[in-house]
Symmetry: C2
DNA sequence: AGTACTTATTCTGCATGCAAAATTCTGATT
DNA sequence: AATCAGAATTTTGCATGCAGAATAAGTACT
């Protein structure tokens, strides 16, 4: 299990995923110097995709570029997951408010469609279903931001969401959590349809705080060390 | 004036700046298809830096990649500047709250230093001073986000969240605006020193809303077309 | 030994080559 | 004329080469 990599990914994306995972899991230690040649060697890819992956990771703050040719693994605070949820709350509450005002019929139809798919997989009967659920959940949140019709917002979410993906991988949610989450989604759609920005925003806030609480619980249990 | 480019920039950065500018000024029209070869040709650079620039612009939402090899100039809504201010308000109010709780003496010293420099240039006596002021202002805001001690937050700020990045306007602020802005900065520092998150957040909010109002005024005056 | 200076090595930024995928063009068939 | 298959061309993704900058190693001098 956790087989090395599904094939449906280009080299750059692969490099990005692997390097980020290695940073978050500590396989690449904080402060460790990175060179394109070594990573290229380790991952069995040429320097080009490695370069692109590194560039993106620098952009996202997982890698620090010092003045010259020196590139190091950045410090990842242990409240990273919590931070991501807080930031998502800021951005997504605002997004869903806008969405409640600006969403088109097509936007809402898309949300409904994704939601229906998620309903079928909740609770997930197997690993594959869980995987689909995760994918669909991401799509749902992305669709909401997209409905907010603000490219700048969409750009921001790409960074934030990508990160929470990884965090999520390590902390599974219980069936009860997933059911609650599904109900939140349902209510979010209703709020958007009702053109009720505040309502939508409030549910979104609860939705993300619930997720954050769950993750915080997990991390405090498994990782008792301080800064 | 507006000479082609200061020399102190690598090819990738140059490509990024030029392409983004061309999109914002409409020289590259919305929906226009872009190919690496053409841009490479136009800018007199090889495909490599062009590729990297395009990648970043896609990430930031200025360029859309369709399913295959087709890449087009994205739609830039005319309320883009307003959006930037709203998003900054979300992110920076949250940041300054954290900063008020977490800032070290060094952080505050840095803010004071930047502030002092800005004070010397307000109101700016010439173009150079105005330029310095813009730089320092950006540094000030960046320093606050940095003091919030959240890499994810810092990463967010790296994305095109500077108004000057999304609208082309020269000296759109009056001396009075700049003086008020300076006073806001002063008060923000005081609030951080007093460890008063809400106070800091409120001033930051006012600070950005004031900026937004000013920009809205300008753009509505000079660009009367609707969506 | 410690420090400044020089040389050697490493590493990155950019250019270019090539194969596979995607797009466009062409012509045949209905 | 419209549709579709297949060829031709374009375009991207990845690999590799190379010059110059940055780092590390070595050496002389105090």
């Amino acid at each position: 299990m956790t087989s090395d990599a599904p094939p449906k990914m280009n080299a750059t994306e692969q490099a990005y995923q692997i390097i980020r995972k290695d940073i978050l899991t500590g396989k690449l230690a904080e402060g460790e110097r990175l060179t394109e040649a070594r990573l290229s060697d380790d991952l069995g890819l040429s320097r080009t995709p490695i370069r692109e992956a590194i560039g993106r990771l620098i952009f996202e703050g997982f890698i620090d570029r010092q003045k010259g040719y020196t590139t190091r693994v950045a410090h990842v605070p242990q409240d990273e997951a919590e931070q991501v949820y807080e930031i998502r709350r800021l951005v997504e509450c605002y997004s869903v408010e806008r969405a409640a005002r600006l969403a088109t019929e097509e936007d809402i139809a898309e949300l409904r469609e994704i939601h229906a798919a998620m309903k079928d997989d909740t609770p997930p009967r197997d690993k594959a279903a869980y995987e689909r659920l995760t994918q669909a959940n991401e799509a749902f949140h992305r669709a909401i931001v997209s409905a907010a019709r603000s490219p700048r917002l969409t750009a921001l979410m790409t960074t934030a969401l990508d990160v929470s993906m990884v965090v999520r991988t390590y902390s599974m949610f219980s069936d009860k959590d997933l059911l609650r989450s599904l109900n939140h989604h349902e209510e979010i759609i209703q709020a958007i349809e009702a053109r009720a920005p505040k309502w939508a925003s409030s549910i979104m806030s609860a939705h993300l705080l619930a997720g954050a609480a769950r993750v915080a619980e997990r991390t405090s249990k498994s990782d008792p060390e301080g800064e």
